[in-house]
């Protein structure tokens, strides 16, 4: 059966969303970017020049991108492994593992992040335990560094990798893997040559999503990171709160937006494919 004709009904259904996003989302985005060109009056590209030449800004940018990459890598490896284990698990185990993925969603992000801070600090449970069994003499520096930031952000972003990977796995025709085995592939090569390529769109979608979201993170680096881990979001905040420099903030916001959009377009195919197919029955 071909798709039913829609006439123009779909326009009627998407119109409210278009209107709302135009007024409440595009307009704010426009106005903040506009500030980058008009504050101070006649600024033009000056703010951008400042943003790009300022060594501090470069450091913040490097922090943002480095953290996003590290977190994407960790979340992808752990997330895919976890999704695969879930896919292969028995029914009861699968329910349990899927439930665990959802648990973080239901605890305040703030509280989860702060819980790490409490566990990781010098007198926290981890250092105390290690010290009391004599493994370490002095507390390990676990907090206020990239390790803590990576841990906290990976924890938060893992579900965004696990869910699309798992969804892609459930759509794989298992007989293809069996066919590979019957044609002489070892379990390992069947996995790497058949299963992994078939589920790659899900992994790619999850990885892109993680990267994009990670570039915008603010809370986690502030609570867990040291001075060397602060992202552009913090620089923007400082520009506004401490210097009232809306022009610089606007230019930085525009640059971050461009980064997000570029990443979004790079991952566009796998993201839309994953999203548009996730609902389709195999």
């Amino acid at each position: 059966m071909s798709q039913p004709r829609t006439g123009s009904l779909h326009w009627l259904l998407i119109l409210p969303l278009l209107a709302v996003l135009a007024v409440l989302f595009i307009a704010p985005l426009y106005f903040v970017i506009e500030r980058g060109f008009t504050d101070p009056p006649g600024a033009g590209w000056d703010n951008y020049q400042r943003a790009l030449e300022d060594p501090a800004a470069r450091r913040y940018a490097w922090n943002t991108i480095r953290t996003a990459f590290t977190v994407t890598l960790c979340a992808s490896v752990l997330g895919y492994t976890y999704a695969y284990a879930t896919f292969r698990a028995s029914r009861r185990m699968r329910v349990f593992l899927l439930y665990c993925v959802l648990v973080p969603f239901w605890t305040s992000l703030l509280v989860r992040t702060y819980a790490w801070a409490i566990m990781l600090r010098d007198e926290g449970v981890i250092n105390k335990t290690l010290g009391s069994i004599g493994l370490i003499d002095a507390p390990l520096p676990l907090l206020r560094n990239s390790f803590a930031v990576t841990l906290g952000m990976t924890q938060i972003l893992l579900p965004f990798v696990i869910l699309p990977c798992y969804s892609a796995m459930t759509r794989v025709d298992v007989s293809l893997v069996q066919a590979a085995r019957s044609l002489g592939a070892t379990p390992t090569s069947a996995f790497f040559r058949v299963f992994l390529p078939l589920t790659r769109p899900g992994l790619a979608a999850g990885a892109f999503l993680t990267f994009i979201l990670a570039t915008g993170y603010y809370i986690t680096p502030v609570l867990l990171g040291g001075p060397g881990d602060q992202p552009v979001a913090v620089l923007i905040e400082n520009a506004v709160q401490q210097q009232g420099d809306w022009g610089l903030a606007g230019a930085l916001a525009a640059l971050v937006t461009v980064l997000v959009l570029v990443a979004l377009m790079a991952g566009w195919r796998s993201l839309t494919r994953s999203v548009l197919e996730s609902g389709r029955r195999s």
Partner: protein, 264 residues
């Protein structure tokens, strides 16, 4: 043989167990901390008491903030399902020109850095005097819409298109097909979207910091302020209460989803 197999299984299960720990640990350590009898937030907690629960129950700031958060989140749920639901249906049900472009546009607010959104909304909404309750509702609706669109779209994609053809052949005009056939069939997606929308608003900090003022604060804003100033187990109590409620809801949803899958 048996011990070797057991060792191999354990080795294989290790990474999964680690990820499970990673996922649930932060949520779990909060619970015992909330029952602490000490002055500050720490783990393991000092002693056991309900003093911080009593403190919360009689603290106007927390109660007021919870009330504000709830009021914002409920309005966000209503608005985002009313606006995002139809769009999700249009995306999932039919193929039309510009569909994937529109989908991308509808999803962008979810991936925008919150700080950029916060500043933009702050300067824009201030022009229309939209700071406080309605401003936050507007901002959170924008941020929640992608989730509603996505979940409704996924369930609309599962609707067999011949059902629509059948309904039309039986005398139903287009709008009635949507109301009588499509709407009941995407109910699950709408409900999931509503839950996501609620959580999005309920848990949002960055934008809320900018769009609230001292007379109108939401729960995350109060928590944020607390965490940066004096850290007592109040925060843990609030988090535990929220965790308990949402865990129960989630357990219900997951179990129900499993049962549904088994029926099909």
């Amino acid at each position: 043989m048996a011990p070797v197999a057991a060792v191999r299984r354990t080795v294989r299960a290790l990474p999964v167990a680690l990820v499970v720990m990673l996922l649930v640990l932060p949520s779990l350590v909060v619970v015992p901390m909330s029952f602490s009898s000490g002055q500050i937030l720490e783990f393991p907690p000092q002693g056991f008491s309900l003093r911080w629960y009593q403190a919360i129950a009689s603290n106007e700031v927390w109660i007021e903030a919870a009330r504000n958060s709830l009021a914002v989140a409920l309005a966000v749920v209503v608005l985002s399902t009313l606006i995002g639901g139809p769009a999700g249906i249009a995306l999932g049900l039919w193929r039309w020109r510009g569909r994937s472009l529109f989908l991308g546009f509808a999803l962008v607010p979810a991936v925008m850095p919150p700080m950029v959104l916060a500043l933009g909304m702050y300067i824009t909404y201030a022009r229309f005097d939209l700071i406080g309750y309605w401003g936050l509702v507007a901002a959170h609706t924008v941020m929640a819409l992608p989730f509603v669109v996505l979940t409704v779209m996924s369930s609309a994609q599962l609707v067999d298109p011949t059902l629509l053809t059948a309904a039309q052949s039986l005398g139903a005009p287009r709008w009635r097909v949507l109301v009588e056939i499509v709407l009941p069939l995407v109910k699950g997606g709408l409900a999931a979207g509503a839950i996501f929308a609620f959580i999005t608003s309920w848990d949002e900090v960055v934008v809320a910091i900018y769009l609230t003022d001292p007379t109108f604060k939401t729960l995350p804003v109060v928590m944020w302020n607390q965490l940066r100033e004096r850290v007592d187990p109040n925060v843990a109590v609030v988090a535990t209460l929220l965790f308990a409620v949402t865990s129960l809801v989630m357990a219900y949803v997951v179990l129900k989803g499993e049962r549904k899958q088994r029926v099909q």
